[in-house]
Each structure stands twice: as C-alpha cells, then as structure tokens.
Amino acid sequence: CSALRPPEGERVQRQIEGRFSISVESSGDSRSDRGSFVWTEAEGWQRLDIGHPLAGTLMRLTMYPGRAVFEDGSGKKLEGRSAQALMAEYLGFDFPIAAFRSLLEADTGTADSFELQGWDVSVVQRTSQGLPQLVRLRKEPSEGSPLIRATLFIDSRQRYAR
C-alpha cells in the first residue's frame, strides 16, 4: 500500500459533497466538463475526489502540509508542493481548489459575492439555513490563460465528531 495514501480509518473531520461544471474559453474555442466532487478534511490532510455516479472516482488530489499528490484512474501520479500547480498541469487550466475549502468553511454570514485568489465568486442560491448552495465562479483571461467559468452545487455538508 503506497505510503502516500492516508492510512485508512484516519479521522475525517469535515466533508462537503456536490456537483460541478467547468468551462474554459479561449480565442473562440470552448471546452467544458462536469462531474461530482467530495472535499474531505482530516487531521493532517485534505482531499478532493472528482468523479461521476456512473463512472466512479476519476481523479484524486490529496494535500498534506507543503506537499500534494494527484492521481487519476489510469494510475498516473503527480507530486509537488502546490496542489493548484498539479491540477493545472493535469487539466491544462486553473481549477478553483481554494473555493472548495472556503465553501466548506462558509457560514450564513458569507457575502453574496467576493474575490478569492483571482476568482470572482457569486453565491446564487442558499440552503434553508442560509449556507451557500449554488455558487458560480469566474476567472478573467490574463496573459495567455483563458476565461474559466465554474459552477458548484453543494449537496451535503458533514461534520464528524472528534
């Protein structure tokens, strides 16, 4: 069993699950993708799983202090200091990782729109408890990087007892 994989049974503390879409537009060409996500936080690591109900888990990004590991279903594995850089290397564009983390911590006081590491974030719909549920993100094109638009819909938030 790979030493990089968090030991099973590691106490998961918090988690959000949902669905997303992302579209990348540059010089008149656009491509998009969509799927489901699970953002998990435990002592010592955080993890973003991306997949689809019909396809299982397709890729996994595990973040440790100062180190990140990216794996896809075909066995490809990337490792580096920055989770953001690893995802950009694999996908070919920026992925709003910080947004997942912030939406986990978002509370009813979260503004309806704010800026987050270069992304313009707008909360379009909230849960009955006032928590962000449907969120649209936009990253304006800049020196060679395309316009990126992402949509996140949070299906569930889970807090596990310590």
Binding site: E8, V12, Q15, E17, R19, F20, S21, S23, S30, R31, S32, D33, R34, V38, T40, R47, D49, G51, P53, L54, A55, G56, T57, L58, R60, E71, G73, S74, G75, L134, T151, F153, D155, Y160
Partner: protein
C-alpha cells in the same frame, strides 16, 4: 451460462426500459451513497439514464452525442459520444454489442439465483478495473464495478420492459428555457 445469457441479451433485446437502484461504497468515509432512477435504451447507443434520487440528473445519448442535464446547476453539458462514457454501465448494456472487442469476458459461479460474468475492459483508460454482471432469463439483474480508488458501484435492475416501441425523439434532449448549454 452467464456468457450465453449475455449474448442472448445483446441479440434479442434491441430496446428496453426499467428502473435501477445504485449503491456506491468504498474504503473511505466519503464513499457511501445511494442513487435510484430509470432508464430506457435502444441499440445501438441510444439511451436515457435518469437519476431521480438523491438529486435529479438526466443523461441522454442519441447515438451521436451525450447530453447531461442538471437542473440544480441549470446547465446541460453536451459532448460527442466518442469517449464520453467508454466503459460505463450504460455503454456496456446499451451499446452496440461489440462486447468482445472491448472486454475480456469470463464466466463466474452462479450466485443469488443469477448467472454471472466478469468483464475486464481492454482499454486501460477505463475508470473501472472490472465489471460483474448477473443475468436471469437473459436480462441483467445486477452489476458490480470496482474503480481504481477502491470504490464499488453496485447496480440492481428491475421492472424490465423488453423491446418496447421507442421513437428516436425519446433520446433527444431539448434544453428548457434559461438552461445554459456547455459544449465539450
């Protein structure tokens, strides 16, 4: 045998509809989830796979392109069928029965009153390591898949209607007003 029932299913069932329940489970805490919904298909390659629970999501294939409609995101993603869902349950069961070209198939012992086969994708890019399909009366009753991250997807099928008349329009998705269309 399972393989005989698979061949019979691929040959004698040119269209069908039914319901499914799906359970995703795995080693890590995030894995356990239950889904349910309905499906309808017509060979080759036309199908509608509709999730009703825990959320609404419809996957349409008209044999040329796959449209995934998500009312919560208010978006439909449209992509070519080529490589859209290479080795997914829908592609296997509803595809154009060149099963042996895409999978290495082997017989498994009977279990739960069904005859089983194991299918391993020849294409190593598949997100699943293997599929197991259980048959009764030449119809799939269950399917179990293992992905590369230790997750297991188990599907149970019921309420089969075999070879109903289904027109091509059934497999065409028409986006509702206000829906955003994201092209591949």
């Amino acid at each position: 045998s399972g393989i005989e029932q698979l061949s019979e299913f691929l040959k004698s069932t040119q269209s069908a509809s039914g319901s499914f329940v799906q359970e995703n489970s795995g080693r890590n805490a995030s894995a356990k989830k239950n889904f349910s919904g309905t499906f309808v298909f017509k060979r080759p390659g036309k199908f509608v796979w509709s999730y009703d629970k825990p959320y609404k999501q419809d996957i349409y294939s008209n044999g040329r392109q796959v449209s995934i409609w998500d009312p919560d995101l208010r978006q439909v993603t449209v992509r070519s069928i080529v490589g859209a869902m290479p080795a997914s349950p829908a592609a296997i069961l509803f595809g154009n029965n060149d099963f042996r070209r895409d999978f290495t198939v082997k017989e498994l012992p009977a279990e739960d009153g069904a005859e089983w086969i194991e299918a391993v994708p020849k294409n190593k890019d598949s997100s699943f390591r293997d599929f197991r399909i259980g048959f009764r009366a030449a119809m799939p009753v269950a399917m179990v898949m293992h992905d590369s991250f230790g997750q297991t997807l188990s599907l149970k099928f019921s309420g089969w209607k075999k070879n109903p008349a289904v027109g091509p329009a059934r497999f065409e998705f028409k986006p509702p007003r206000g829906a955003e269309i994201l092209k591949e």
